[in-house]
Amino acid sequence: MRIALAGNPNTGKTSLFNRLTGSNARVGNYAGVTVEREVGKWKIGARTVEVMDVPGAYSLAARSAEEQVAIRSIFGLDPGEPRPAVVVVVVDATQLVRNLYFAMQLIEARVPVVLALNLIDVARAQGTAPDPQRVEGLLGVPVVAVSATTGEGMPALAAAVERVLTEPDAGRSVVPWRYPPALTADVERLAGMVEAWSPEEARALGRWALLSVDVEDELVDVPEHVRREVIRIRAEADKAGRDIDAELIGSRYAWLDAKDFGVRGTANIGLTERIDRILLHPLWGGLGFLLAMGVLFQALFSWSDPAISAIEGLFGWLGAGVAGVLPPGVLNDFIVQGVINGAGSVVVFLPQIMLLFFLLGFLEDSGYMARVAFLVDRLMKSLGLHGRAFVPMLSGYACAVPAVMATRTLERQRDRLLTMMVVPLMSCSARLPVYTLIISAIFPPETRLLGVFPAAGFMMILMYVFSTGMALIAAAVLGRTLLKGPKVPLLLELPPYRLPRLATVLRQMWMRAKTFLTEAGTTILACTIVLWALLAFPRHPLLDHDYAADRAAILANAGLPETESLLSGQRLDEVDAAETAERLQKSYGGQLGHFIEPVIAPLGFDWKIGVGLVGAFAAREVFVSTMGVVYGIGSDADEASVPLRDRIRQETRADGSPVYTPLVGLSLMIFVALSAQCMSTLAVVRRESRSWRWPALLFAYMTVLAWVASFIVYQGGTALGF
């Protein structure tokens, strides 16, 4: 048995879902669209029913496949999906009329419904609570006053649902509102053309088609003959001077507006308006916005740091422990460097993901997220982005993985995809160590630009400005070409401010973390293992140098005095590092670096940089430690490592000229800034877009962009004599 929870957005539907199903919900996907849904279990008396949440909508009418999800899931139109036995329509008791407009469309179709007047406590406090008995009397279907926040009315809701489950007709009513005769005739004609469970449902589908079908809609599965008939009917009505949309919608509202649902007094949205006088004020609102976004950014960028370090430490400790227990060999390396390291590189994203979704939950549930979209709409519109894309874009400065996941807050698929495609261009914190290393190696701290500005700091700022600019340009270009869609005008509800419920926020956060671990996480783990294999095989390459002989020589010469043995230990380390470097160079990954050299040579890179770029696929900051290995300094080199920096400065080409000229450094930083070198980002884009097409496109366009930009900089700079 399945029941569905449907209703307008901002009605507390999610809170009610959480209260009914507890913690055992699972996240799934609606067929054919990237709209997520949750399905959970609810125990009513002796039965357990499956509860499915339907995306919030103001109407069943739709213009795209995405908006069709509501009607398809309520009417059970998707193959393999059961038709809900009862639909609980969650109604915001403080916005009764507008919410009932949605409920009327289900009642018309004779879908068995139970109306849950949610937020009844808030409505009472405002003095605008409707009378459930009156609502029930007028609509003819069961109505229960509930509060998902306080738990009020839950037993009554369960009882009402149970009654309708046993006796579906208890949830149906004889529709008391009327339509103009001409419209009724149109609807009858369409009703004869559609397949449905009942004549009433056929008429409801006819009305739906009249409102939804358009010459240029993006609906799916509307039979061609129905579509033609709707267009014909509408054209005829136009000629006769009739307005079908106004007839349909107007008739419903005329009935709603004429009835007395027991609401006394007008809604007092005074508090929300008073708060908005500050939060939407040109000056104070702007400052409040900066503060809120500052906190969000700070949280992702620095507050998550201790947890990230702890996770890295834990997995490092675990790896070292296992490495010590297992006999050395390929299995040991596989488990430690492949599996444990890979699991670590998945879990390490959790602090940022959880923090971001915790804060997003508060922003959404409090009602402030809509204000963010309102405040930045003008700015974002000029880039072809939705106002709600602001938070994901900002999060991109910390890490693209949680930022891509945050595109969930966007309602339309096109907006989500466009944001996903440009977020990875924002300069994330993993690029920072790469910039730091290159800048410090190439521009010594004393270098000044025009004799005043420290060159290192200037370069760093330049990289951030550059990547932001490129992201905005990419958004503008992609939005006008590949992701060009019908212009959808803004229609954003500014819901009343409400205190978010911690339990709901935490639960949503945990669901996100769980889906990340199980879906994106597995892809990331698999990629880490592949990357490990690339750099670890072949196991026994033909080495140019006899390192064992070196070691033996050092040990043979080692004298007894303390300083001497320390020195020989150091020499042994050097031999080890040299051997690791050669093994890396001879590995498949190293060969790949050689292989791509002709492609990256025009950017000023040698094959060693190529190996670094291959290694950086695990995460961009791994570029630094890979270069440490390549240059025989050791894998523990970080961006502040002096030997690595010195080595980079001394690195020469075959002709003796330095590899890392300022131009090469700049070219390399631009490449790192623009290329999609992060398998975790690609994995999470796959998860969120539900296809390999989008990550493939992301990878392709960013790589081409990075190559072209670096090429222009390096070749242009060389031509100009830099």
Binding site: S59, I269, P489, L490, L492, E493
Partner: protein, 85 residues
């Protein structure tokens, strides 16, 4: 007179809506219907979008679309006041 051209905090009454059909349909489904009272509460930074109150509910519309919502004054006196503004 349209929703995009009236002064802030001045209740007016919707006369009709024109413009893109799908958007018009959405507005009507939210209760933007002839005879319903509506007012503009504020304007976002950089002049767009508008913050609109209708039926005790707040919505944000861009001024280009708000210009499709034709409105009239609540009464004759209000009409004179609006003209004065």
């Amino acid at each position: 007179m349209t929703l995009a051209s009236i002064p802030l905090h001045t209740p007016v009454v919707i006369v009709c809506i024109d413009g893109d059909r799908q958007y018009r349909r959405r507005l009507m489904e939210l209760g933007f219907l002839p005879g319903v009272s509506v007012q503009v509460l504020g304007i976002a930074p950089f002049g767009d979008p508008l913050d609109i109150e209708i039926r005790g509910c707040r919505f944000s519309l861009r001024s280009a679309e708000a210009a499709c919502v034709h409105v009239r004054a609540v009464s004759a006196e209000a009409s004179a006041e609006l003209a004065a503004k």
